[in-house]
């Protein structure tokens, strides 16, 4: 380790520092609003340090790879975490006595996500994933009243543990086959190992994919998703849907590219099957959902199905366009999903009865800002032009056509057509006439909703700067 390596690690160090300061603060004076401010300042400083670290990109030990791509995603999830933080303020102020721990858990979870994004080795992958996950269990179960959060947390905990076990076993098998744990090491030896013992490599990679697939909640590993989305407090659900899933997908991309796993057609077939099932199951099951959080859960299953198509295209294309597509898609997905959860959190608070689509009736006339933001988010998820989601889909289809993945694209078209129905249902519900439900959102949340809505529209209407930027990462 030399000095520049510490500079490269600045975001991780800054987050760790924030966690320590939070603990010290809790031991001196317990105060929720102070903890909130410390966390916010910590995130902002980390955001700054991520741009500072851009001048020092390098592999840091064998475990972490700090480069522009990972720093971009670090910044992105920090922004998402800041949004989570803003939403959390109101959500937990009415809960029992001790709330500071929530902020500590949030910081730790973000730290895990950053490690995951920068990982270049199976150990750091596992460390990051577990740190992020363990903190999340507690965040999901945080509300003291009500059974749903507890049920959701236990479900997530038990199934996550299974997934981790699967992941570890996969690592062991890959290690047995290649004798390597770092991605690049695996990449250089995989072909030889495969020639010698194909079953071992395939079984190992398949188990790793299954473990990661669980975290991404691609079908058929999606069973936990709707319950956890519904049970968790809304800001935490938004965090899970954006930061956690985004970080895991970045790690998967890394692993898939650096580990040269795309050279195995069997794995690609498996991924294609996951993608097809996710697109269809996610959209199909979303059709009948009445609870908007469950609906968004199924929608996210479908979206990771779309994203997997890009990963499969790696076999046929150079990594440049694929990386660009993944960067754009994940950014669009994270911004859009955050906007949706921001509005859901503003409108429903933690009242489960208000999470039904019917409860959104009349939103257009009583709370135009929230309704517009949710409309834009829904149109973006559905992939209508002028929104970020459309450009994201544009990338997926372009990449798919260039790779000749016609079957997958056909499924994508069918799935997207199904999806329009349930996104429109929400918009339609908002246009109905209804009594005013009262207004409880604070001004920070309004600013966040407005900013996210504008970001979606800018990414969709004037994407050139971002595309150019993503191409340089």
């Amino acid at each position: 380790m030399n000095a520049t390596m510490f500079s490269a690690l600045a975001p991780i160090l800054m987050l760790s520092l924030t966690a320590i300061v939070l603990m010290i603060q809790a031991s001196i004076k317990r105060d929720q609003s102070v903890a909130w401010v410390i966390t916010g300042v910590g995130f902002l400083l980390t955001l700054w340090s991520a741009s500072y670290a851009r001048d020092f990109t390098q592999p840091v030990t064998i475990l972490l790879q700090v480069d522009h791509w990972s720093l971009f995603f670090t910044s992105l999830i920090l922004i998402a975490s800041l949004v989570t933080l803003v939403l959390s303020k109101d959500t937990f102020s009415s809960e029992g006595e001790r709330k500071e721990e929530y902020y500590l858990l949030l910081v730790l979870s973000v730290l895990g996500a950053v490690v995951l994004i920068q990982s270049s080795h199976m150990v750091s992958l596992l460390l990051g994933m577990e740190l992020m996950g363990v903190a999340l269990y507690a965040m999901i179960a945080f509300p003291e009243r009500g059974q749903l959060p507890l049920e959701a947390a236990v479900k997530y905990l038990v199934l996550s543990a299974c997934a981790s076990a699967m992941l570890l076993y996969g690592f062991a098998l890959i290690y047995a086959a290649t004798g390597e744990l770092s991605y690049s090491g695996i990449g250089s030896r995989a072909a030889v190992a495969y020639a010698k013992n194909p079953m071992l490599v395939m079984a190992g990679s398949a188990m790793v994919l299954a473990g990661i697939g669980f975290k991404l909640s691609v079908a058929p590993f999606h069973m936990w998703t709707p319950d956890v989305y519904e049970g968790a407090p809304t800001p935490v659900t938004g965090f899970l849907a954006t930061v956690s899933k985004g970080a895991v997908f970045v790690a998967l991309t890394r692993f898939y590219i650096d580990g040269s796993l795309y050279q195995f057609s069997d794995l690609n077939t498996a991924l294609a099957a996951l993608a097809i099932v996710s697109m269809l199951v996610g959209n199909w099951l979303a059709l009948r959902q009445e609870n908007i959080k469950r609906l968004l859960a199924y929608s996210s299953i479908a979206h990771f199905g779309y994203l997997l198509v890009v990963l499969i295209a790696l076999t046929y294309l150079d990594t440049g366009l694929v990386n660009q597509s993944i960067t754009f898609y994940l950014t669009a997905y994270i911004v859009t999903t955050l906007a949706a959860f921001t509005v859901v959190s503003m409108v429903t608070g933690e009242d489960t009865a208000k999470q039904n689509i019917g409860a959104f009736a009349g939103l257009f006339w009583h709370r135009p800002l929230e309704a517009s933001a949710l409309t834009v988010a829904m149109l973006s998820l559905a992939g209508i032009p002028l929104t970020a989601g459309f450009m994201a889909k544009f990338f997926v289809i372009t990449v798919g056509i260039q790779s000749g993945l016609w079957g997958l694209l056909a499924v994508l078209i069918v799935a997207s057509a199904i999806a329009i129905y349930y996104y429109l249902r929400i918009i339609f519900a908002m246009t109905k006439s209804a009594e005013s439900p009262g207004n409880s959102a604070n001004w920070q949340e309004k600013i966040v909703a407005l900013a996210l809505m504008i970001s979606i529209l800018v990414l969709g209407a004037w994407p050139q700067p971002f595309i150019a930027y993503a191409g340089l990462l």
């Binding site: 006339w365 559905a382 191409g471």
Partner: protein, 510 residues
């Protein structure tokens, strides 16, 4: 810039309409009307400085400098996507039709809309802006963008201000057009990818993509993607099922825009993109397309005959009339194409007028069921006379625009395929049957006692003026169609030059 301004005026006008609701309740409709008229005036002033389009040389389809107007600016250079707009005779006709019918739609919404007027007029203006974009965009991505985005205000118009079953109708409308739009997106991207692999240049420009080399089979599939998207919007049999619901449930102004303008975007797309981009594939497909067109003519007419709902009947008659357009386009010779363009314009006026009458009836009677209407002429003679005029226009009475259109189509079609012509011609007879039935059931016959003392108000000056505009238009089209034909002729000629279709097609004559 003129073309950008045309769209911007409408977009900004929409915002003004929303804001003007704060001044007074009746302000939005006045603002919206003013905006559309300003837009129309602006276009006419800009055109007056141009050479007379009827004297214009044939624009070369793949040379933008020969077009009336052309504008290009970078948008997403990473993929060669630009903001490219151009205007030729056909686009100009469609743009004029859009703006005139836009003003008529606003007039139709004058008293029809009672809640959230500002937002309604804004949606109306925005959908007009989207349609203008469709008629002018020549970058395929930009075209797709307008194609999709114009649906959103239309969706809101149906979903918020529609009739009893609006949720279902709006959803169906949106899903049909979106799903088919996705097919078109795939086709656009496939076409661009093929061009990219040949030239190593990303471009979505129509002018660059016109002569993309590809194998016959690939061309066939890509062409189908475009074809389905356009035929859904047209709507052609068997993709028409969204139309009766959407038209019936939409508020009057929405129906006017849907039938008068939105359907024409499908026909325009076929003429501009689906055939010229893939001439050989379109030729091979032309007889299938013509059979679909003929099926639409007959099927739409038969179903129209069986309707009891005033608006639904008109909606099915649109399916029948649009079948003629499909026939005219795929016959792909000058006569038939002239007829198709003529039909687009004439049908726009006649159907818009009929929908407006339907809307006025609904506003007064609170029903669209023709079984409850009878002898309404006695209470509302002016409305009855208007209905009579537009019904006979719609059934193709010689001397009015629709007759010229259908006659030209059949004439052109006869050179290509006699049997299809025979079948399509029966549409004229069935058309007469359902149109007169509509008239008899609602306005003629013994007066229904229910309405005698109901206090029905006849058409006032505003409605009569609106009707008069459309009447004059149809009469002019019917008696002196030459200006329209002249405006379209050079463009059609240049499109025909692009393809080898007519020469080969004539060989196929029985």
């Amino acid at each position: 810039m003129v073309m950008i301004n045309l769209i911007l005026i409408l977009l900004i006008g929409g915002l003004l309409a929303i804001l003007s609701e704060r001044i007074s309740d009746t302000m939005p409709r006045k603002v919206a009307m003013a905006i559309v008229l300003i837009d129309l005036l602006y276009l006419l002033i800009c055109l007056s400085g141009m050479p007379d389009i009827t004297q214009l040389q044939a624009p070369v389809a793949n040379d933008p400098s020969t077009w009336l107007m052309h504008f290009k600016a970078d948008w997403i250079p990473a993929f060669g996507i630009s903001i490219e707009l151009a205007l030729d005779g056909i686009s100009l006709l469609m743009v004029l039709l859009t703006l005139i019918l836009g003003a008529i739609a606003i007039s139709a919404s004058w008293t029809d809309i009672v809640v959230r007027k500002g937002f309604f007029e804004a949606n109306l203006l925005w959908s007009l802006a989207g349609v203008l974009g469709v008629f002018m965009a020549l970058d395929l991505m930009l075209f797709f963008l307008f194609w999709e985005v114009m649906l959103i205000p239309m969706y809101f118009m149906i979903a918020i201000w529609g009739h009893e079953n609006r949720g279902y109708a709006a959803m169906k409308f949106f899903i049909f057009t979106q799903a088919s739009g996705l097919l078109m997106l795939m086709s656009i991207l496939a076409l661009v990818a093929i061009n990219y692999s040949a030239t190593e240049v990303w471009t979505f420009s129509y002018f660059d993509l016109l002569h993309t080399e590809m194998t016959e089979q690939v061309a066939h599939w890509i062409m189908l993607g475009f074809f389905i998207a356009f035929v859904v919007k047209l709507p052609g049999f068997p993709f028409h099922t969204w139309l009766p619901d959407a038209h019936t449930q939409a508020p009057t102004a929405g129906s006017v825009i849907l039938a008068g303008i939105l359907l024409k975007t499908g026909a325009y797309g076929l003429i501009r993109f689906a055939v010229p981009l893939f001439p050989e594939a379109a030729l091979n497909f032309s007889s299938a397309a013509m059979w679909l067109g003929a099926a639409g003519v007959v099927y739409g007419a038969v179903l129209a005959f069986g309707q009891t709902d005033f608006k639904r009947l008109i909606a099915y008659s649109s399916v029948s009339h649009m079948g003629f357009v499909l026939l005219g386009i795929y016959a792909w010779n000058e006569l038939a194409l002239q007829g198709a363009v003529m039909q687009m314009v004439a049908h726009g006026f006649s159907t818009a007028a009929l929908f407006m009458i339907a809307g006025s009836l609904q506003e007064r009677l609170h029903t669209r069921d023709m079984r409850e209407m009878s002898g309404l002429w006695q209470q509302m003679p002016r409305m009855g006379a208007m209905a009579m005029f537009f019904v006979v226009a719609s059934l193709g009475l010689p001397g009015l625009g629709n007759f010229v259109a259908e006659f030209l189509i059949l004439l052109g079609l006869f050179q290509v395929n006699i049997w299809i012509t025979v079948i399509a011609a029966t549409g004229l007879i069935t058309g007469a049957a359902y149109s007169l039935l509509l008239m008899q059931r609602s306005f003629q016959g013994e007066a229904n006692k229910k309405w005698v003392d109901y206090g029905l108000v006849d058409f006032g000056p505003r409605e009569m003026l609106t009707m008069a505009v459309m009447m004059v238009a149809l009469i002019v089209l019917g008696i002196y169609p030459q200006p329209i034909l002249d405006a379209a002729q050079p463009v059609l000629q240049s499109l025909l030059n692009l393809t080898t279709l007519p020469a080969v097609a004539i060989v196929e004559v029985l």
